[in-house]
Symmetry: C2
Subunit: 195 residues, 2 copies
DNA sequence: AGTAATTTGGTACGCTCGTGCCAATCTGGT
DNA sequence: ACCAGATTGGCACGAGCGTACCAAATTACT
């Protein structure tokens, strides 16, 4: 069900944002009708009025969150300063695109959803079209960043670097005090310096 | 609670195996008291008698499954034929260690748990000690395989190759017809030929 | 054989969940 | 102002969940 009224559209959007927040805080399991309604300050039934099912709500929340990430990436791309984009700064830029802006103490948690959603797609085929689109746009963004920074790369090389970062992150998640960004940074620095 | 009787120990083990099966088939969410009891052909209460909580049961199931994987890896290591271990065959061996034996049509599903558990550890700190141990043993096994095959590698190189495979897999999970093994194979072949 | 400890398994409690229902209310077009 | 359609929100149903309980049965040990 989609809203037909401006106010209705605002309510629907509030639900999507509340669901996206829950997604970040507690993962897929945290997105429940009642939790979403409460966080949005709306009655329970509004969640079933605007979304055919919980899967619909989860999909909308994931799309909203993914688009926000891409928007952040586009901003970073637009404000890219080609001259001040040396090795260190460039690596940080790539990491910010792939993992989001550094979140300090809560970095591991902030990064987690990026991988939960990949793995979750394995058991939720209905997420595949969305995830493929988001992933494709991210690849494009990254390719453009490399080109703009004077290091043009092919599709294979981009996929290789992304895989390296992603693999480093998921393996870092099991550490006592996980610092996935640092692990990814190490891998990325080594891979980019050796070519 | 741990069993004090031989029969009790057998029952407990049956529960662990049933839970491990459910873990493979349906992921973490599928491991429920009732589902485990039913699959093991035991009454519901046996699950709470032998395990203090569901987390305990999940942990035991994951440990059982992980040990089985390591045992498989050790077998492959033991039967390694150094001469017939050329590039292609060696890559397949490494993939089998990291992803388990090829499962044909259901390969994507079989591989999935290996990554679900990494990501799940992000929100379940109680899994960290176990996952660290399993991961450490796998790294050791892989290092030994490389050495035995006449390509000794350092810790950093092993971690890099593992990250490459893992990253390739999680990114392959969102494809229409996921073939994570093929994606990992491509990455691995390229990385190992270029050095 | 007898007693104590362990194990068994049926049952129930309290809770959360997704979802359906429907009278009341609001809104936009005429 | 009026009315059809959109929206609201309180409520309840049935299912599944983790877990506790406890009398009966079994087992281990002297």
């Amino acid at each position: 069900m989609t809203a037909a009224t401006p106010k209705g559209e605002r309510r629907r959007q509030a639900l999507v944002e509340a669901a996206a927040d829950l997604l970040v805080d507690g993962g897929f399991d945290a997105v429940r009708h009642r939790a979403v309604a409460e966080r949005a300050g709306l009655p329970l039934a509004s969640t079933t009025y605007y979304f055919d099912s919980l899967d619909d709500l989860v999909t909308a929340a994931l799309e909203f969150h993914g688009e926000a990430e891409l928007a952040y990436g586009k901003v970073r791309l637009a404000e890219l300063d080609v001259v001040a984009c040396g090795g260190e700064a460039f690596i940080d830029l790539v990491l910010d695109l792939l993992l989001g802006p550094p979140a300090g103490e809560r970095d591991a948690e902030a990064v987690l959803l990026r991988y939960e959603r990949l793995v979750a797609t394995g058991r939720r085929p209905y997420l595949r079209p969305l995830m493929r689109r988001l992933s494709g746009e991210l690849h494009g963004l990254l390719t453009e960043i490399f080109g703009r920074a004077g290091q043009p790369v092919g599709r294979e090389r981009v996929e290789e670097l992304i895989a390296l970062v992603d693999g480093a992150v998921v393996n870092a998640l099991i550490e006592i005090s996980p610092d996935p960004r640092a692990a990814a940074r190490r891998m990325l620095a080594k891979a980019m310096s050796s070519r």
